[in-house]
Symmetry: C2
Subunit: 407 residues, 2 copies
């Protein structure tokens, strides 16, 4: 594909107009929306409204007058269709990490005779770390990791909960949600999916797959801004059975009775803990709103096509890169990783040239293709720059080897 | 005191100019800064900058370029002098509830042979609820509540940690931090103070009192906005000894190595869990900044004087109210509660007349006097309105009896 062909494909793309909803910096090709989504153009005005008109003018009355008290449930309900859930099965709350703790602990408590939280090595670190935190607090529990290829066979009657990330943060591999969930259920285990790299990027159908529990991230494909609140999902049938150990007052059945004893709220509300972060939720709501009314199957297909084009062009134009993601789009998320011994410096050289991807240790150059605002010409230009960097050995500059705090 | 005298006192107040730093609504007397602090005038522009210039323009690079990665520690260090702590002893993180869980669980783990989390009945609900959550997850642990008057005597060698709120949310009673902390230590227990109604309102000296652990709220006297991130304090000597069970990737020693095993970061950073909420932290930073350079002892003395005036005027002009707060300012926070059988409807009648206080079940009318932006004339006018409401029985309107979601 030539640059002109890529440009023509953008011109013919019925979803191309969605890009105009985002404030993308001029001259930058941004392929890191899987780490931090772009800014919706409506977000600044929304935050100004919440801050100046709601907080500034109505102060404490804002909790009722402006729906702050319901915001976590309301935005959860708007996320629900993106993940195949019913509106009251999703709640915006805390961070992905904190939500993992709530749901893993609740799952372990619901399976008192089973010792094991089962996951895979190389899962996103915070998933494993939070599981270790849960196991450390609960006597007789442990975290067991089994390589993905053997994981399903390792589910036995000692497994309380299986914890996997639907789309792997590094490889982009998409797991078979329906089959693995069924395998967990066949052994009596609960299934918890981390949707951080899925929600808004690929089709997710929690209800159809019979999923028990899920968590997800607000600042990646949902475009909620840096450190946006996360979300959690609890299947309706389990909501009255499970108990969050983070039994904060906002998850209480009657928080404003100020009683001494915790009594969980009915439904998903019991998984709320402290006072919800209103500024963050407002920004997340604007992010989620960008996908409403969008033809989501077409959007997901576009993400796959962008990834396919990137793989094809890198393999055509750049030597020394080994594809570290599934080649089959059906088993991939919306980001693509290539391994290269100099991946870190190459990534830095690209960033210096305003092609923004990221590096994942030890040797992966990862590019994300958020289909809401990424075009085919972006992909072409990114690979053109990569080819130029490789051709000129531009990466071979000591300045590109110094690691920053966040890479 | 007459209204003219109150006005004259404002005119003579060297701290009066601080009020101009806040965007207070015209015609409202706001006496609920202890529930939700007012909007600093600099906050809207700061958020616009973070959203449009930092997130919008620099996207993922914002983590390094704009100090997002250090924001939780940086703002914690700015809160530290308000609570008598060293800069690296305070961290902004999560909600007050989640921080309570981290520190209570860490304390219990550090005292493995002691079963009890000791608190008082009627402590702020989320403190008790989170303690119950911790006890529910850890075999053999329990929450014991003992009436405050007998609490010190109840500290024995089975107490792992004593949990109290420094200024009681309802009564405004200020506890003797030094004495109670010493009593806990004498029995080998750790001491955790909730500073939600203290920080920014009264003098707090965690280091001088030898306090082990503390948490506090960002949206009350710190003026961080609705649902602002909270803060936590861990005494330096304990930081390497204690372990948060919420062992998220942002508390890891090397989060970007993406290893499978959790290893806590050195120092206070280990008490961070997920990705920090950048919009919320930025708003909190603006709130905290309003107190920098302010003569804090004078500010706290003003808060006491405002409360004293309110008590004197209510008792002079309104019948049927029983003071439910300490009369001695030395043992009070910056809010005052009066009990009255019709407190709920009276509160609603006042709100309808734009005097904003709040109600706490079952019968308390609570007024907060945030000394940064509350004046003596405000107090006079609030009591004048209260007297008018009582005189006209204006509260005796069915409309004022309907409880809203947040009261």
């Amino acid at each position: 594909m030539t640059r002109d062909e890529a440009r023509a494909r953008d011109a013919a793309d019925p979803l191309r107009g969605l890009r105009d909803r985002f404030a993308l910096p001029e001259g930058t090709i941004y392929l890191d929306g899987n780490s931090l989504g772009a800014l919706p153009k409506t977000t600044p005005a929304r935050l100004t409204q919440v801050i100046e008109e709601q907080w500034g003018r109505d102060l404490i009355a804002g909790w009722n007058a402006h729906g702050w008290i319901d915001a976590a449930a309301r935005v959860g309900a708007r996320i629900a269709p993106l993940v195949g859930a019913r509106p009251r099965e999703v709640l915006v709350a805390d961070s992905t990490s904190v939500n993992l703790f709530k749901l893993l602990a609740a799952a372990c408590t619901a399976r008192p005779d089973r010792a094991t939280i089962l996951s895979e090595p190389g899962n996103f670190p915070t998933d494993l770390y939070m599981a270790q935190g849960v196991a450390g607090m609960m006597v007789g529990r442990r975290v067991k990791t089994v390589a993905f290829d053997s994981l399903v066979q390792a589910i036995d009657d000692d497994v309380a909960v299986v914890l996997l990330t639907h789309v792997h943060y590094k490889s982009g591999a998409k797991r078979d949600m329906a089959a693995i969930t069924a395998a967990a259920h066949a052994e009596g285990a609960l299934m918890l999916w981390d949707l951080s790299h899925s929600a808004g990027a690929v089709a997710v159908d929690l209800n159809r797959c019979g999923v028990d529990l899920a968590v997800g991230c607000g600042y990646k494909y949902l475009n909620g801004g840096p450190g946006a609140p996360a979300f959690l999902y609890v299947a309706q049938a389990l909501q009255e059975v499970l108990h969050s150990p983070l039994s904060g007052w906002m998850g209480h059945a009657a928080p404003f009775d100020f009683g001494d004893d915790y009594a969980p709220a009915p439904g998903i509300a019991r998984f709320q803990c402290g006072t919800p972060p209103i500024l963050g939720i407002a920004a997340l709501e604007e992010g989620v709103a960008q996908m409403e009314g969008v033809d989501m199957p077409a959007l997901f297909a576009k993400g796959q096509a962008l990834c396919d084009l990137y793989i094809a062009l890198v393999e055509e134009r750049c030597d020394g890169f080994a594809l570290a993601s599934p080649r089959d789009a059906a088993w991939r998320g919306s980001h693509v990783s290539f391994a290269h011994p100099h991946a870190y410096a190459i990534c830095q050289a690209l960033i210096a040239r305003r092609v923004i991807g990221d590096f994942r240790a030890p040797d992966v150059l990862r590019m994300g293709f958020a289909p809401l605002y990424t075009g085919f010409e972006d992909v072409w230009c990114a690979v053109d720059m990569l080819a130029a960097v490789m051709e000129a050995r531009a990466w071979d500059d000591p300045a590109y080897r110094v690691r920053a705090a966040v890479t």
